[in-house]
């Protein structure tokens, strides 16, 4: 494992073992959030009551369950220094966020395998149904693909275009949704750990710049 992989593995393991908030906190170490957030809003690793003033002149926006994962949705005040639209997470920080999200996904995939092995439908363990096994394999493959993409990006001399970063995260978002489905309706309750997959997507949505118009037309 090269240095880049080792660095990213730390983020991945933090996401897996410590959760999304712990991983995001590590990603944002040394990052000027107000100057970086591409839309003047962000998900931050903090539990803050909605409607209050957060750190650094932020307004805490309501969200029904972000606080359950130790996260807050905030808007930077217009007069906050550097609050103009930022570049979003790029390069190594975008790769680190990818690694955190892979870690969160990985932990939940383990939980999904345990659930699908224990539950039966038609007398057969769910995991042995072709649809289910296929979905599980697809999610795991997307996680590996995202890992390779993140390692390449972290090792590159130049930051990848926003479209490439967005596309990698969007595929992770879809993989997260596929993983959520493996939990059935219980994964749609906020007291289930799969809520982190939804928040993982929201975090990427708010921290990443969008592709240019031409790239966005898919």
């Amino acid at each position: 494992m090269n240095r880049t992989s080792t660095d990213l593995a730390r983020y991945r393991d933090l996401g897996r073992e410590g959760g999304l908030a712990a991983g995001l906190a590590a990603v944002l170490e040394g990052v000027d959030a107000a100057a970086t957030a591409p839309g003047g809003v962000a998900v931050l690793p903090a539990v803050l009551p909605a409607g209050t003033d957060g750190p650094g002149g932020t307004e805490v926006l309501p969200h029904p369950f972000a606080a359950l994962d130790g996260l807050a949705l905030v808007r930077f005040a217009a007069d906050t220094p550097g609050a103009a639209p930022g570049p979003g997470l790029t390069g190594r920080t975008a790769a680190a966020l990818t690694a955190v999200r892979i870690g969160v996904l990985s932990g939940l995939l383990d939980a999904a395998v345990e659930r699908l092995s224990a539950r039966r439908f038609g007398g057969v363990p769910l995991i042995d149904h072709q649809f289910v096994g296929g979905s599980l394999a697809d999610v795991a493959t997307e996680a590996e693909l995202a890992w390779s993409g993140a390692v390449r990006e972290a090792a590159a001399d130049q930051d990848a275009p926003a479209g490439a970063v967005w596309a990698r995260h969007e595929r992770l978002t879809e993989a997260g949704w596929a993983a959520t489905r493996l939990f059935g309706a219980e994964g749609y309750l906020t007291d289930h750990p799969a809520r982190s997959l939804h928040l993982s997507a929201l975090t990427a949505d708010l921290w990443l710049a969008r592709p240019s118009t031409a790239e966005g037309d898919r």
């Binding site: 003047g40 809003v41 038609g122 309706a185 309750l189 997507a201 949505d205 898919r218």
Partner: protein, 383 residues
């Protein structure tokens, strides 16, 4: 393609006029799914009540110009439901009334049971629950364990737990499925009142579509007089899951309608904020095709209540299209959009709910494949 006649176009227009009000209430309901009081007087709730309460049980059918709308038509329901969900699907599911329980009672209830149920939910402020699903058995209804035990001649008691039940904590009346024995024909449906001793409905915290107010229902010896058992007048093969299957067939395109409406709401937002957004025409066209498929499923059900192929296909297609529309809107409107437009943030949560309602997409795929193997119709628009 289903061409709506003048009568259905009038219904569609009347429903569309009420959708904006639903959207105005949507965020408040999302923040407090059980605080339904401020929403009960919405015009859309009145439309739903008129379209779902049979006239013979005190209902006042909707009239639009020269046209009247009685209950029972799937296509009628789907026409208004797409429009209302275009306002907000969570609000649609928060509407009081018979909901899917009414569909079952109309299929399996005798005249007295139908009248008792419909009059119980006709006041515009009463919800009904439909309790089939159990913890750990989401798609395996035949494996249910909730017991309906005969205590005395004419009296049964319910023991067990149901989960993910819409209106399960706010409904005053509803239906609970349970088994009297181990055989496939031992599953029965019982009318139940939430106020009965032994009934405990607890709200579940949902990621989205919170207006549906899912709950867990614990049943600890709830008394069921024999006259509350549905389908006593029907043969044994028509008493239990057969009725539930018919309800699910009927409701699946309704879930698809909710998905289409939500997807169209996302399109509205992008069209308003970024009229030239790449992909707008494609996303909108896909949703309109889904709408037509939903209508076709409704027309098929109105011909044959047991024809479940198009309903399943409509749900598969619409659920995927709605999620894709929501992601496209997030991508198109930029990183601040989910803060600047709280409805978009909510809709990104809502669209995922449709996957889990009335059978996942994988379950629908099995239904479609089985229908094709049985020779239940050729594909590609052929009946």
């Amino acid at each position: 393609m289903v061409e709506l006649d003048e009568r259905l176009r009038a219904l569609r227009g009347a429903a569309a006029e009420t959708a904006g009000e639903l959207r105005a209430h949507a965020m408040a309901l999302d923040a407090d799914p059980h605080g339904t009081g401020p929403h009960l007087k919405t015009a859309a709730f009145d439309l739903i009540r008129r379209c779902t309460t049979p006239e013979r049980f005190g209902g006042e059918p909707l009239r639009v110009g020269p046209f009247g709308y009685s209950t029972g038509s799937s296509l009628d329901t789907l026409v208004w439901m797409v429009e209302l969900a275009h306002g907000d699907a969570g609000m649609v599911l928060a509407a009081p009334g018979p909901s899917l329980t009414g569909i079952l009672v109309d299929q399996l209830g005798d005249d007295g049971q139908q009248e008792w149920f419909h009059r119980a939910v006709a006041d515009g402020a009463t919800w009904a629950f439909f309790a089939v699903t159990e913890p750990g058995r989401g798609s395996d209804a035949a494996g249910m364990e909730t017991a309906l035990r005969r205590e005395d001649p004419g009296l049964y008691r319910l023991h067990g737990t149901k989960k993910y039940i819409g209106n399960g904590a706010r409904g005053a009346v509803g239906v609970v499925f349970a088994r009297t024995g181990s055989g496939p024909l031992s599953i029965r449906a019982a009318l139940v009142e939430a106020a009965d001793p032994g009934f405990d409905g607890r709200a579940l915290p949902m990621v989205g579509l919170r207006g549906a107010a899912l709950a867990e229902i614990r049943l600890d010896g709830v008394a069921v007089p024999e006259e509350r058992l549905l389908a006593r007048h029907l043969p044994p093969t028509r008493r239990g899951l057969w009725g539930a299957v018919r309800v699910f067939n009927t409701v699946r395109p309704q879930v698809a309608a909710l998905a289409v409406g939500t997807g169209l709401a996302c399109v509205d937002l992008v069209r308003a904020e970024r009229p030239g957004a790449p992909g707008l025409d494609e996303v909108a066209a896909r949703l309109e095709a889904c709408r037509d498929l939903v209508y076709r499923a409704g027309a098929a059900l109105d011909r044959d209540r047991d024809d479940g192929r198009l309903p399943s296909q409509a749900k598969i297609a619409a659920v995927a299209a709605a999620r894709e529309a929501a992601r496209w809107a997030v991508r198109s409107l930029g990183p601040a959009a989910q803060a600047d437009h709280p409805l978009l943030e909510k809709w990104t949560r809502d669209v995922n709910a449709f996957e889990f309602m009335e059978g996942t997409s994988d379950i629908q795929r099995l239904h479609v494949a089985r229908a094709l193997v049985r020779g239940g119709g050729r594909t590609g628009g052929q009946p």
